[in-house]
Symmetry: C2
Subunit: 276 residues, 2 copies
Amino acid sequence: MTGGRGEGGALLTPAPGESPIVVLVRPQMAANIGTAARAMANGGLFHLRIVAPRDGWPQPNAYAAASGADAIIDAAQVFPDIASAVADCHRVFGTCPRPRHVIIPMRDARAAAEDLREINGRDLRVAVLFGPERAGLEADDLAHCDTLVRYPLNPQHTSLNLAQAVMILAYEWWMQAEKTPPRDFQMNETRPATKGELENFLTRLVDELDASGFLHNAPKRPGMVRNLRHWFERGEVTAQELRTLHGVVTELAKGRMRRGRFQDNDPPPWQETETP
Amino acid sequence: MTGGRGEGGALLTPAPGESPIVVLVRPQMAANIGTAARAMANGGLFHLRIVAPRDGWPQPNAYAAASGADAIIDAAQVFPDIASAVADCHRVFGTCPRPRHVIIPMRDARAAAEDLREINGRDLRVAVLFGPERAGLEADDLAHCDTLVRYPLNPQHTSLNLAQAVMILAYEWWMQAEKTPPRDFQMNETRPATKGELENFLTRLVDELDASGFLHNAPKRPGMVRNLRHWFERGEVTAQELRTLHGVVTELAKGRMRRGRFQDNDPPPWQETETP
């Protein structure tokens, strides 16, 4: 079921705050998906999403390795990309075996489990991304995350099996569950935006910046877009704030349209304003 | 290399206090041995012993699954039974997925890792037993343990993959290693007996009890021997205390020899002394 929104798919979406969603990004081996599902069951995690599995879906080997966690495999949702897999989530964590030079808050697995419990207790929907077996999450994958999860392990041997990475997080989640009663549901005036709402805004922003010429440097464009994404993923932008930001973009776009299209050999207008 | 004492085997014995020894008891799948070795490397555990692997040893599949932890597989020692595998150890922990009615101190994985670190810091050699994939350690296996390790996990799904069980313990070990500096080496007047020294005593005690007729009830004999073993495994009997206990057995045996062999239809002499 590609897309996860097909027949019955919507019914499988967990209620916000129910328990974190495990997202396996481009997993290679069906057996690892099954072992990961088993580890999820061990730790009381039940919502599995799979982004672009290498060998398609469903896979008999996943069931063979799940060892009784069939219900998790049955209910797994498949998506073509990370953006669609986390569109209904308010927070996205990404597991990161190697330290990277990214400007995203980093937690170790234990602290991350505390955060997950806290987010869960606020009745928000949170996902945790796990990268493919060979190399883990890539820079563009991490740009979808607002928090990174580090595993404190032997620096001489950091290569962690996919299912083992899921196991440690599921174990820490359960340790938190044993320790911490879920917090009271806090109904605030506003709520954090979902990643889908944020994605809509980012898409619109990038379109406008392309139109304005701000992103006209083709070789640097991917990194610039990723940096913008990092900035907006951080913190918990609220739905209210996003509406304001949409208004800002609309106003700026109007100004550009009044001034006419930006010329390719001029410095970009936003860069101008930063120079004193 | 069956027995682990063959050519070069002795050299592979870790120095006391170096790091805990992982003992896989009757493992079934070579791939699980490899994945367990990889998990050990992740958590900074390097000493692997294997008791009676189902498919013999060495196994190419173990290397394939070890993913770079080859050195651990290379150095693994194979033993025919638990007693020989832990003979040089001062303490033995056993992982126990299901609660059992046994009179052995129980720790969760996190507290067990603290204990392991503490034991390690006293320069003692400690082993952790992991049972076979299908059913875990049996009652007779647990009778070799002085401490049980419980994994706090979803009670609806406690079936833990062997390598996952090793991973959680290795992870908790590493978390302790990051947190706790090893304690100072404490040289006391005496030292805990090794499990081999204790085994010698238990063998002798059981022989004498057989000779005395105390264990003459054949159907109950295995359980009685196991209970005796549980009693002596608990605490850390010291080498000095064991020498005293040997003396006690010698004295009692002398008395029996003076009185002549115990008759099968009489109550056993020790039972007599317990009745007021």
